[in-house]
């Protein structure tokens, strides 16, 4: 069973896993109020356990810069859901602070042979294209976390390769250690923090899915 947004948020905050500032809005008025609090630009994305691939149906909009764009965007997402996923149960539309940087993924699951296992890798579209990930059994030490990060083939990309923003390796390490604690302590089957966006200032999960 996939946890809903509020339950997910609660677990992440229990383990102090940084999450990009987000509010779940039911209507445009709530969205406008939330966006003001966060500050533009923001991201809009639908939250629904029934819609796993949001980008494909146009249910994610990046770089919303003002109230006008927000209103249009909100309605656009609503419309596309009605058209593409009319039966989906919608929790709301998330207004999220827009972070820029490298996308990574951190996840964990309970393996039937070895128990809790952690994963780290390049996130976003890279996850599926390159499968550039590393694994460790949980719990991990800080040394393990460091190795997990260095082990991936694309490690160089995280170090500010050709003008890209540098990832914050220390913050990533911290999140790996927190994820390790989470999978050891909570009674869950699997979770993904994908993407986590990281730049020199930090690393923030922008999306999380937890399966009980």
């Amino acid at each position: 069973m996939l946890l809903d947004f509020h339950q997910t948020e609660k677990i992440l905050s229990k383990y102090k896993i940084p999450f990009a500032k987000s509010f779940l809005a039911k209507n445009t008025n709530e969205a406008i109020k939330n966006a003001k609090e966060i500050g533009y630009p923001v991201v809009l994305k639908v939250v629904s356990g029934d819609i796993l691939h949001r980008t494909e149906i146009g249910a994610v909009l990046n770089d919303i810069r003002n109230e006008k764009e927000l209103k249009t965007g909100f309605l656009k997402i609503e419309k596309s859901i009605k058209k593409n996923a009319p039966k989906a149960k919608i929790e709301g539309i998330l207004v999220q602070e827009q972070k820029s940087g490298m996308q990574i993924i951190i996840g964990a699951k309970i393996d039937e042979v070895f128990g809790s296992v952690l994963m780290f890798g390049l996130g976003g579209i890279f996850v599926e294209a390159f499968k550039d990930v590393s694994f460790r059994l949980a719990p991990v030490t800080q040394k393990d976390a460091k190795e997990m990060i260095k082990e991936i083939r694309g490690f160089k990309i995280l170090t500010g390769f050709r003008g890209q923003k540098k990832a914050n390796l220390r913050k990533i390490e911290e999140i790996i250690l927190k994820a390790s604690l989470l999978i050891m302590e909570e009674n869950i089957k699997e979770f993904d923090l994908n993407p986590i966006i990281t730049n020199e200032k930090g690393a923030w999960a922008c999306d999380a899915k937890i399966i009980l």
Partner: protein, 448 residues
């Protein structure tokens, strides 16, 4: 020592002994009799008075002496009854060779559970069922139906597959490494992989543990135990492709196949993972014979190509090839034995016409350099090459630098080369006929 009655029995009873050609029972009689000077072997077969000239007993109860180890090789359906008789006889341990249990399905599994319950109530350790048996070459105990007894040595080979053991033994007869123990663990009804691991870790004859595994029953326990073991463990995992693809929901689940998780667990537990049988024993051999070293390898070669390949592999595997120091070069130049066109580099190419004297100068100079902790000596056979003389020089050099690792790559299969290789390996210098195998192996010695 734990499981003494299994690994060092004084009196053995073989139930299901046979003289029928091609039978498992006959194979066991033959293998066990190899150690008959060291222990008593009692044969049990209710239909025979004697087997291959030896007395046969109708049942284990008819044997007067105490029995340490009972080996059972009878049809599956009577194993439970026989196990009961062995318990009555108060045997110290059992090996059940017979197949036809959990590996065949529900009924077999139920039979196995009954036997397990019976022996565990009495706390009698049991190997198998559905296994090849165990072999202890150092004490000439061959309680298996393997085709031969392998050489004695320092590798404990623990394998889920019995047939692979057969082939490995066959292959190893011409090799110079040997085994402290070979264990075919079968269905693990009682003793399991982790028990054998702990046993091998405490066994004085074992220096390196080599594993062939397909599945692991309790991965976490395996991981925790392996992590604590100080002896090197080398593992080959079979069955890496995920046949049971499950429906996956999240990326993590989709990307975590059995292969990846096993590899992560091996790495984290400090187990050396290998990808082939050849690599399993290449690795086990070097870990038995050579010390752990810091990163920094020297290469001496009489062939340019072999040196270039070696350098490529070293670079790929992040092995440092330190530059030869001015001091090293000076001693090479001063020797007057170098060819004018020698490479002055690491790999140190001493040119095809190198005789043993030149090898000696080069090997001593390179091993003398402080930041070089290991040496690969390559010999391509050319018309003037002196393999046996070269081998002796390498063996001597190793004696002078016992803390440095020395590996040879004598490339070839000619009688001349083979004789030199055998000499090298008898003196614990591992030889590999391909530079790739040598580089992969020496990499395992490097302390991270």
């Amino acid at each position: 020592m734990k499981y003494k009655s299994i690994f060092s029995p004084k009196n053995i009873a073989l139930i299901g002994a046979s003289d029928r050609l091609g039978s498992v029972g006959r194979g066991l009689v033959k293998n066990l009799s190899e150690g008959s000077l060291r222990r008593k072997i009692y044969l049990v077969n209710p239909f025979k008075n004697s087997i291959l000239g030896k007395k046969s007993y109708p049942n284990i109860g008819a044997i007067k002496n105490k029995i340490d180890l009972a080996i059972i090789a009878v049809p599956a359906k009577i194993v439970l009854k026989i196990a009961g008789e062995c318990i009555q006889k108060k045997v110290g341990g059992m090996i059940i060779i017979s197949a036809g249990f959990a590996e065949t399905g529900k009924d077999g599994k139920a039979m196995q559970e009954k036997i397990k319950k019976l022996i565990q109530e009495k706390n009698i350790p049991m190997v198998g069922p559905n296994c090849l048996g165990i072999i202890r070459p150092p004490s000439r105990l061959n309680a298996s139906f393997a085709p031969a007894t392998p050489k004695s040595g320092e590798i404990a080979f623990i394998s889920q597959s019995g047939a692979l053991i057969d082939s490995m033994i066959d292959m190893s007869l011409d090799e110079n490494y040997g085994f402290s123990a070979i264990i075919s663990y079968g269905n693990e009804a009682d003793l399991s992989l982790t028990d054998y691991l702990e046993w091998a870790a405490s066994d004085k004859k074992t220096k390196v543990i080599a594993l062939y595994i397909e599945g692991i029953k309790n991965g976490r326990k395996f991981f925790e135990i392996a992590k604590k073991i100080k002896k090197p463990i080398v593992a080959l995992k079979g069955g890496k492709s995920d046949l049971t693809k499950k429906t996956v929901f999240l990326h993590t689940g989709a990307l975590m196949g059995q292969k990846e998780i096993f590899s992560a667990a091996f790495q984290q537990a400090g187990i050396f993972e290998v990808n082939s049988l050849e690599e399993l024993f290449d690795t086990a051999k070097i870990l038995c014979w050579q010390p752990k070293i810091k990163n920094g390898i020297g290469v001496v070669t009489n062939g340019g190509g072999a040196g270039v390949l070696t350098a490529d592999y070293c670079q790929e595997m992040k092995i440092n090839l330190p530059l030869l120091s001015p001091l090293t070069l000076k001693s090479l130049d001063k020797s007057k034995t170098m060819h004018p066109a020698y490479s002055k580099n690491n790999p140190l190419d001493i040119i095809g016409d190198a005789l043993s004297e030149r090898y000696q100068t080069a090997i001593e100079a390179v091993l003398g350099q402080n930041n070089i902790h290991g040496l690969i000596v390559i010999q391509t056979l050319q018309i003037m090459t002196e393999p046996v003389k070269n081998a002796k020089i390498i063996i001597n050099a190793k004696k002078n630098w016992p803390k440095k690792a020395v590996v040879s790559v004598f490339m070839g299969e000619s009688q001349k080369t083979k004789k030199a290789i055998s000499l090298l390996e008898k003196n614990r210098i591992p030889n590999y006929t391909d530079p790739l195998r040598a580089v992969k192996s020496i990499k395992r010695l490097i302390i991270k």
